[in-house]
Symmetry: C2
Subunit: 218 residues, 2 copies
């Protein structure tokens, strides 16, 4: 039942195995960060560690398996970042700031979660669990500052489709705000990270800030 990150109470073999698995992920990360996911090569990772190609298959069943693990880690990293921000009393704006910082830290990691989907690929179940944790944090922060107002058309639609909120007591206006928060910030962020604004002259950070302002003061 060991082998889930805790370094205590492991046999030497398990310790070694965990260490090698971690180093493999680290090297894979570097490759992805510099050349993108399609350039990730198990062979190159192995050679960069002084190993021969097939050796990696002792640690990951396939290239897809390794990638899945990286997706899992990316989700966990984002959730931890947002959780840390929320723990220090950050409101929606604070979460937005944390999100942007996390994304700029490693754009390819962001795209590993929110980028172009591969038609065949299905994310593992636990990532959707983490995703709903992230959503829960967003809902908390949204509910904390949702003002009075007439119910929106989409809000009434959400009233009948709020299963995804997983029993969260937030009013539908907060659900709507959380979704807009997500989609708008992703809109600015993904286009910025993709370099779609390069050469346009303006500062993407200010566009992000403007979108955030518009989101918080309706």
């Amino acid at each position: 039942m060991a082998g889930h990150g805790e370094t205590g109470a492991m046999t030497p073999r398990e310790r070694y195995r965990a260490q090698v698995r971690a180093e493999i992920k680290e090297r894979a990360w570097e490759q992805i960060a510099t050349a993108g996911v399609p350039a990730l090569s198990l062979n190159a990772v192995a050679k960069s560690m002084g190993l021969s190609g097939p050796a990696l298959y002792r640690y990951y069943a396939s290239r897809d398996d390794l990638l899945t693990e990286l997706v899992r880690d990316a989700y966990a990293s984002l959730a931890a970042t947002l959780r840390a921000a929320a723990a220090t009393g950050a409101d929606l704006a604070g979460l937005a700031h944390a999100l942007r910082g996390w994304a700029l830290e490693d754009p390819q990691r962001y795209f590993l979660i929110y980028g172009t989907p591969v038609p065949g690929y299905h994310a593992p179940d636990d990532t959707t669990r983490i995703a709903s944790q992230i959503m829960a944090m967003l809902l908390d922060a949204s509910a904390a500052l949702v003002p009075e107002g007439p119910p929106t058309l989409f809000g009434t639609h959400l009233d009948e489709h709020r299963d995804w909120a997983d029993g969260h007591p937030a009013p539908s206006a907060a659900l709507h705000r959380a979704l807009s928060f997500w989609t708008r910030l992703h809109g600015v962020l993904s286009l910025e990270l993709a370099g779609q604004f390069t050469g346009m002259g303006f500062d993407p950070a200010q566009l992000f800030a403007a979108e955030l302002r518009d989101l918080l003061t309706p």
Copy 2:
């Protein structure tokens, strides 16, 4: 100086060549649409046409070359769609509708333009020209219905960085609106196309409509 799409005044060789190039792109498109860009294989395309692998290199210098051509076509297709909508008197909402329809028609084509960037890759120059044409249409539509109002913070920032508007006479408020239009709709659309809303129960179209409404009535 021939060979740019017009079928008239071509030697038989040029005709044949253009035809084969078109069929290659068509097959490549099918592969991308069903299995994504990483699954695009020149070999498979060749075999599906009854050719042997290396034959394709008479028509495209490399796999990247073919992909670049597809990116070009995707840009041109989007621009044509928006232009057609604008020609029938569509306002910003009409453009949004056209954009969404075009994206849903072939999600991978959308991601080919706005999806995860490959760190090494640089889009050819003419695509940025088409991109600025698209931007010009957006600016036209934005300027057509920009109401009075106090200048936004980001608007004043744009006043000093409006080179990308390419001499368009729209006020900075219209520039701001066009950018928000772009980023917000891309935010909803890309997440929807990526399947990030699947299992959440609500209707992405209604979220799109809500974002559009919010965009048009400030």
